[in-house]
Amino acid sequence: MTDPGPQTSGNEAAVRPGPGDPPGDPGEEHARTRPRKINPGSGLRGRQVPGRRAAVIALLLALAAIAPLPFGPTADYVCSGIAIQVLFAVSVGFPVGFAGVAALGNQLFYGVGGYVCAWLVVQLGVSSPLVDLAAGSAAGMVAAGLVGILIRRGVGLNFGLVALGVGQLVYLFVYQSNYVYSSNGIVGVVPGSLFGLDISSGYAQYGFTAAIVAICIGGVSLIRATVLGRAIRAARDSRPRAAGLGIPVDRYYWIAFVIGGLLGAVAGCLQALQVGSATPDMLYWSTGAIPLLAALLGGISTASGPVIGGIIYGTANYWLSENTQFANFYLGGAVVLLFIIAPDGLVGVSRTALRSLMNRPSWRFPALSAARAAGPADDDDVTGSAYRDNRARSEDEGR
């Protein structure tokens, strides 16, 4: 099947986060509406960006490290849960937003990761959390690989819905049959200690979770910047064009799907270690839709969007379920409102606002416009976001 509809010509300069840009780096910002020019006097591309990028990364890591400290003893657990939400959101943000693969069934790999991890701890008594994590993630990745092969023929939403169908099959199997524990799942998962630190509670728990999550996010950012990432992006932007260039498009979709599955499995393992159980709920389809929602809330086609969306959604969800009885009601309502007001997600909105601010000649921020002129190294002809393509396309279809 081929891409319907022509590519819109406005894509050349569409907003893309720079490959490898850390979340929130203002260097991501660059002009969309006009051709990119190197401003005289702003130096060559990338001259001043790397130092600042490192500083921003360090700052964000430091912020993440002290995040739970001001909020008392229970905050470690809560923040750790939010970190897992973030990773889960990133795990769907990558295949869906970056690769344009409708990976709707990610809860399957989340659940598989969680179950395998929990099983290792409870049944085999493997007490090293890193081993549990690695094994659970590997299992999730293998599952993603298999599902990816199985559903290779489906394209677009069909792909996603077959993935959902497979996920639902596994859910029913786990929930209804007694082959895989009972419908209560595996309980009593006690993570062992890591380097002599007990990571089952307290700040050590948060530190462990956050470190793994940070490594995963860093890994995703790296992948976005590599040749692999660019090939995936090319496959997303224009399937026929990428295929014409000799890029094995289906293989890259598969790879992106598997990477998403792997990240989802890591999130599942962390979840199992954190709450001490793996339950069939982890495999239910709406479990996988929540992180997708969080990613979209932040802006799914950006690097930082899923992270920010995950933080906001996780925090809001926690706060609302602590303080009100009807978290779904408020959260769903808020997201619907946000959709109506800002269909691009929060990052998209702030970016648009920032851009319109900066494009006023009299108010240009020197630092930011320098960074913009320097721009991320991605101005070949495969730029443009799937999300925007989508819009253009649905307008085409809607004719």
Partner: protein, 292 residues
Amino acid sequence: VIFSGALVGLASGMIYVLIATGLTLTYGIMRIVNMAHGAFFTLGAYALYTISRHWSASVPHLVLGVIVSMALVGLCGAVAEPTIYRRMYAAGHLSGLLGTFALLIFVSGLVEFVWGSSPVTTPVPGSLNHSVKLWTTSIPVYDLFILGCGLLLALALAAVLRYTRLGLEARAVATDRQMAAVLGIRVNRVFVITFVIGCALAAAAGALLAPLEQLDGDIGSSFVLLAFAVVIVGGPGSVTGTVLAGLLLGIIDGITSTFVPALSGYTFYLAMVVLLLVRPQGILGKAGLEIR
């Protein structure tokens, strides 16, 4: 035995058909993947539950209740379409899907808010609460009742789409929205009306199912997924394909669960996955839905 399994499956297939036709209608005409269809299903079921608490459980009351809940939920649809949905049409399938998913979450919260979080049940009307013997097997009368109602509604929908001016306009909009607008069809009006019809069908399915299932706020999320399976298998946007797919999946599930009860529930998805692998575009679909 096969026959009774098939008949039971046909009844549940009819429920799928009712939900899924509304879904495929909104997809075909508005090009939006409407997860919140499950929300309207839930609202329909709860509307019937509320009505049934005030009336005695008899067939005329049930029929009236179904009609009233269809009307109420249709009204919700008439409010939701211009305010919420119209903003989402331009945003692409994926964000439409997720925006409506958020709406689904919202409504499941709303249901807990209004009706409480414990599951509720609705009685089956006494005159329908028994089984009849058909040839060699016994079939719950209520299943036959669902089958009849579903058939009636599906035929009515087909007739509206085929023979009325509204149906003609709706098909024109589905084929080419812009051209239809140029020719003087009030596209937004068609949107509202078809959306209301879709919601009313979801409500009918919910209301008819209410006496058979325990209701809670999350019931929509499981049924909307089933409905999606049906839509995709039938070929997105094709009402006939959806009807065929719903009945087919229902019958397959019904027969297998008679023979191998342990498999009940799985076969639905299994059949969906297999059918899609064989025919990715659906039974009567032309091309797959693209959300990339």
